[in-house]
């Protein structure tokens, strides 16, 4: 019988090898699934993993990867601080929507004047909107001890209702024939968040995601705040001794995640999405939770995980249109990929050993692993 044995330190080699192994395993099992559905497995796998990058239309789909991954990475980076510290903001979707709403409202209040200041103003309003929405559960937790999981999740539904109200009411396009939806912000020069370099997919939201990843890396590695976050997650008592205020940590982590989610929302509404509509929220806030954990809450991991998720989305769409694969099969395949990625992770923390082999004394220096 095979048993698992904890490694003294996570294996670096396996940390790099497991994602590759997981993708390979998914290809095999996924290929079987596709074959069962009557599709050519090799062709389908190639369409999902290869064509978005190097297929005949790669120069169109490669920039699209950035557009799709941008908001995921931005939100997931923000969430990773709280998750490391054991603060559970699962309402990023609501903060994303609120950021888009407040950002769009700030801009549309000034429509149709033209100014270079409008876009920065909208970005600030969006970040503040998302932050404010995240601070509601934070303050309730600090003041009354109310569980942030429930409050942040419930506020997603409130945000969705606010979105419908705004799209049909105050933010509705007066020239829109009574249909729900705001003016198109990407077609108003003052608010448009367009590609910065043509053909790259690089818009301000992608830039912000890059900055957030670097910023988070520096913060976690070099800054006292990063230390406090890591300590609070790994050893809450030690953190208290070290003078880390739990209340402040909650407020800071929630503010960061809400602010970044709000930013993602405002960049999306001014660029790729273009307008506030009833269905503006497409689940980036929830997918970002997966991305955060898939990236092991590490900024660089999140960057890669976000790109990988984007790849499966875009590749999955291509498999739908080009090969007639049902959308549900793509969802199933994505779920499978995540399972393998998460399951293989065990090899970085543990080694496999045949039971009966001479036991090695292993120093388990870290019994509590926090959220991870």
């Amino acid at each position: 019988m095979i048993i698992l044995e904890k490694r003294p330190n996570p294996s670096r080699a396996w940390a790099l090898a497991t994602p590759v192994l997981a993708v390979l395993a998914t290809m095999i099992v996924g290929g079987l699934l596709f074959a069962m559905l009557g599709k050519d497995p090799v062709l389908t796998i190639r369409t999902i993993f290869w064509d978005p990058l190097f297929g005949p239309f790669g120069s169109y789909t490669r920039p699209q990867l950035l557009i799709k991954a941008g908001p995921l990475i931005l939100i997931a980076t923000g969430l990773s601080f709280g998750f490391r510290a054991g603060i559970w903001n699962i309402g990023a979707e609501g903060q994303y929507i609120l950021g888009a709403l407040t950002g769009a409202a700030a801009g549309l209040a000034l429509y149709p004047s033209e100014s270079r200041l409008i876009f920065p103003l909208m970005v600030a309003a969006g970040a503040l909107g998302g932050m404010a929405w995240a601070l509601i559960p934070a303050l309730l937790k600090v003041r009354f001890g109310t569980n942030e999981i429930l409050v942040s999740l419930m506020l997603v539904y409130v945000a969705t209702n606010l979105l419908a109200y705004a799209a049909l009411g105050p933010l509705q396009n007066p020239e829109g024939m009574g249909f729900p939806g705001s003016r198109n912000l990407s077609q108003w020069p003052s608010s448009a968040n367009l590609e910065l370099l043509t053909g790259t997919g690089l818009h301000w939201g992608v830039v912000a995601a890059g900055v957030a990843v670097v910023g988070a890396y520096v913060l976690l590695a070099r800054h006292a705040f990063g230390f406090a976050v890591r300590l609070a997650g790994q050893a809450p008592r030690a953190a208290a001794f070290a003078g880390v205020s739990p209340s402040r940590l909650v407020l800071a982590c929630m503010a960061i995640s809400g602010g970044l989610a709000g930013l993602a929302g405002v960049f999306e509404v001014t660029g790729p999405a273009g307008q506030i509509g009833i269905d503006f929220g497409v689940g980036y806030g929830f997918t970002a939770i997966i991305v955060a954990f898939l990236g092991r809450l590490h900024p660089l991991g999140i960057l890669l995980a976000g790109l990988l998720m984007a790849l499966t989305y875009i590749g999955g769409e291509m498999a739908q249109t080009q090969l007639g694969l049902p959308g549900a099969a793509v969802q199933l395949f994505q779920g499978m990929l995540l399972f393998f990625l998460l399951a293989m992770d065990v090899l970085t923390q543990f080694r496999l050993r045949w039971k009966g082999a001479s036991p090695v004394i292993v120093a388990t220096a870290k019994p509590v692993e926090g959220a991870r």
Binding site: I149, V151, Q331, L332, G335, L342, V346, Q349, V362, R372
Partner: protein, 310 residues
């Protein structure tokens, strides 16, 4: 406006039905979380149960057998989660979310032959005599069997957690798995059973939608009910009786807001449609700011992987 047209008796009767799918799913998740495992895949297990139950019911011609199939389907999917988080020690939050994705995809693939098919009818359980009692009759005694099953399960789980020895062990495992292990309890085996129970309950909740409430199979039939179930567990502070109150509160406000709309109440619709969520938050804040805050805490080992270090 005619608020007198809202009958409290009928409102309470509808609330019991409206709350049932969430109640079932939340009850299962409560046991899972009490065992120290956080499974965010409730939505995926619910919808898998919805199609498994529907398919079984169509194949056997019996809605009741359908519920058995639903429980089996939900439990089977949850075992996938169990293997991943218990033996491969994958992250519970991410694995649960992946389970939702997987379950949604699986259910809609499996459901393709069932579009537009009608489910066999659910036998009515009109309890004689009792259902004739004024006021209480319609509220309590004129429902389908699953409503009573859900209530019985609440009682059963309460008894199990607070009166049975095995329940005590389960709670111990959830509070501190290392201590429970040191005392010789089989942490992983207990958790496996808890997860399977959670999956079965979620499956029942999903099947209540596809076999009783809608009753047809359509893609996305659960429409987010699994997430509400998760929230209700937190609302209940992981206690079964409070869970019942939470599900009734949420279901009740959802039904009430629609009744208020129908009665032309002078409250904007967009405000009304937010009320179930806002009231839930408000009530939780009131509870948590009052006495007994310490008892609100989540199980100590919730969400943490367990590894028996020898």
């Amino acid at each position: 406006m005619d608020l007198t047209s809202i009958s409290p008796v009928l409102l309470l009767a509808s609330l019991m039905v409206a709350a049932t799918p969430i109640l079932l799913a939340a009850l299962g998740e409560l046991v899972v979380e009490r065992a120290g495992v956080l499974n965010l895949g409730v939505e995926g297990m619910m919808i898998t149960g919805a199609i498994a139950g529907f398919a079984t019911a169509v194949a056997t011609g019996s809605a009741l057998l359908g519920f058995v199939g639903a429980a089996a389907g939900g439990a089977a999917l949850s075992l996938l989660f169990a293997v991943l988080v218990l033996w491969l020690r994958s992250n519970q939050v991410a694995t649960g979310l992946a389970l939702t994705l997987f379950g949604l995809g699986l259910a809609s693939l499996a459901g393709q032959p069932y579009n537009g098919v009608r489910a066999p009818p659910m036998p009515e359980l009109d309890i004689p005599l009792l259902s004739g009692i004024p006021v209480l009759g319609p509220i309590l005694f004129r429902h389908d069997p699953v409503v009573y099953l859900a209530l019985a399960l609440v009682g059963g789980v309460w008894w199990f957690l607070h009166r049975a020895r095995a329940g005590l062990v389960l709670r111990a495992v959830g509070e501190n798995h290392d201590a429970a292990h040191a005392l010789g309890y089989k942490v992983l085996r207990l958790r496996l059973l808890a997860i399977a129970f959670g999956g079965a309950c979620a499956g029942l909740g999903g099947a209540y939608l596809s076999l009783v409430r809608v009753p047809q199979w359509t893609e996305g039939i659960t429409a987010g009910a699994g997430w509400i179930a998760l929230a209700i567990v937190v609302f209940a502070s992981w206690r079964p009786l409070r869970l019942l109150l939470g599900a009734w509160l949420f279901g009740g406000i959802s039904v009430l807001q629609l009744n208020l709309q129908a009665a032309n109440a002078p409250i904007p619709v967009e405000v009304l449609s937010m009320t179930p969520y806002l009231v839930t938050i408000l009530v939780l804040v009131l509870i948590s700011s009052g006495r007994g805050r310490a008892r609100l805490a989540a199980p100590g080992s919730l969400g943490q992987p367990f590894h028996a270090s020898r």
